[in-house]
Symmetry: C2
Subunit: 354 residues, 2 copies
Amino acid sequence: KKQYRIAVIPGDGIGKEVMPEGLRVLEAAAKKHGVSVHFDHFDFSSWDYYEKHGQMMPDDWKEKIGKHDAIYFGAVGWPAKIPDHVSLWGSLIKFRREFDQYVNLRPVRLMPGVPSPLAGRKPGDIDFWVVRENTEGEYSSVGGRMFPDTDREFVTQQTVMTRTGVDRILKFAFELAQSRPKKHLTSATKSNGISITMPYWDERVEAMAKKFPGVKWDKYHIDILTANFVLHPDWFDVVVGSNLFGDILSDLGPACTGTIGIAPSGNINPDGDFPSVFEPVHGSAPDIAGQGIANPIGMIWSGAMMFEHLGEKEAGRSIVDAIERTLAERTLRTKDLGGNADTTACGKAVAEMV
Amino acid sequence: KKQYRIAVIPGDGIGKEVMPEGLRVLEAAAKKHGVSVHFDHFDFSSWDYYEKHGQMMPDDWKEKIGKHDAIYFGAVGWPAKIPDHVSLWGSLIKFRREFDQYVNLRPVRLMPGVPSPLAGRKPGDIDFWVVRENTEGEYSSVGGRMFPDTDREFVTQQTVMTRTGVDRILKFAFELAQSRPKKHLTSATKSNGISITMPYWDERVEAMAKKFPGVKWDKYHIDILTANFVLHPDWFDVVVGSNLFGDILSDLGPACTGTIGIAPSGNINPDGDFPSVFEPVHGSAPDIAGQGIANPIGMIWSGAMMFEHLGEKEAGRSIVDAIERTLAERTLRTKDLGGNADTTACGKAVAEMV
Ligand SMILES: CC(C)[C@H](C(=O)O)[C@@H](O)C(=O)O
Ligand SMILES: CC(C)[C@H](C(=O)O)[C@@H](O)C(=O)O
């Protein structure tokens, strides 16, 4: 029986506080469902490490974590001490690119105990996935500046879409849609305004759709799509977008379900050539770090996604169920959700219900 | 006393039905406030015109409407008959570019009688402006495709930001913020992901802010900014963004206030070299066209913005007041807002209250 090897990277701030709860729940679920898992802990990808070593990660970071079955990641960044582009591009974005994690996957699901900012929406009403292209598109790094410091100054940056890059994310999204009861895919576009790359995206969606005749699909321009997230969140099942559009929709979606504080995410290499990273959507939250009050649900839910990704569907699902039952009890929720549990109490509650 | 000359272009579909109501209200307000205004009607920028002439506008469209004080525009487009890129890029986008309408301005305001999809929000809670750069940025048309129809195929499109283009939109936004009681400006960015153009945008915001010491300003990445539109719409006063970000925010904002069906917009050339275009945010709505049930409020409100732009503040404000009083009465609202008035009855009601 296979033993999974997981690289554990708590990172900064509340990442270090929610990680133990994530591990607690994973261990409980593993025990219950007979999953064998081994955790290796790493201190890099953090401000502490940077302070000592002058870089975010050791030179041999790829050897250290590149052979693990998955990476379980807390949060990185501490803007007052280190600029985001150093901390994020020196770790998270590096993982995405060098481990070819071309899928960014996030659930948008209204949970019990978490009031939606949308009037009249109840758990069950909102339940879909955002699938984001995670390696190219608008985040290209190609471009530059001309005539600096004059009135003629201008900057350009390219959006780059490759056939490989677009087709593989669309394939993943259509497959996900096909596996779900509603079998409905929505593509985010803006081909009426962004006149070269976005029509190409549309073209590839149409081509891919032919291979999935069982999937109903539609497309919306990103402007009206964000409006529809607010007005009709029940319309969606699987929503696929470019790097930028997916980024926007996967913050807006969780906001519509009450808070980005509990949202999980996977940065996935579906081909299995490299490990995938599972991390909560929230950051290191310097403002509340060190107080033991951080909400561990995003970390725990990311662990559930990791188990599902590894093929341990039952263990994963039992964690999501336990999260729902925990959130339903006011006393087990953390302060940000109107409860009075601290980080540990909330984590223990989920672990017991798993 | 100056007589304003307005070019009137109803366009397609419900554009033709809401335009008479817009004119009715403008005439009533003009009479009441002693504004002298003359309307010239044009049939181009419509499917009808295209069918007859094979193009959206006559060759001399610039001579025909370029000397008017403003353009009052209904709606254009009829996707089943003519592709969007022909109808929109052949008229609306042409106006923006060739009349250098570098500001796209839209109010986000929760009105009486229009239920917000956001729980617990009441009129007065949401009241801000979105200022969108309207000529460059992500809508550049520069780019292309290589290795077509092979596995190596890729497309690129440049985002282009010029010092002139960025500085003038920021100046407009800071000036608007300075004129408002809260004096608060929010900049939409994504400099943590889009690493060349967006840091430039941030740099110019910082430089411009120095010239407006009385304005408090902040910035959010577009992903969390869309989330905050839903979670904290009361935080905002003036929000400024690039062509794409402004496009997204100016659909999402009106959605948060209940409907994009009543939202107005201005495509403005602040320097006065060319006429500005005022138009409702909604499109030509082929699905309800011809039934006399379209909501004329977006058209009427756009007229109010036009009067304010021309310097007729009182006349403009009296129209906005009349809209609020009309919307507050269920029987005066159109069907889409739960009322039973038709287009004309709603328009007449506003005209009477002006
Ligand atoms: C129709 C489209 C090209 C246009 C835009 O994106 O500018 C529209 O969404 C708008 O906001 O006026
Ligand atoms: C921090 C930032 C670069 C990142 C992104 O835009 O990809 C974040 O918003 C995310 O969604 O993981």
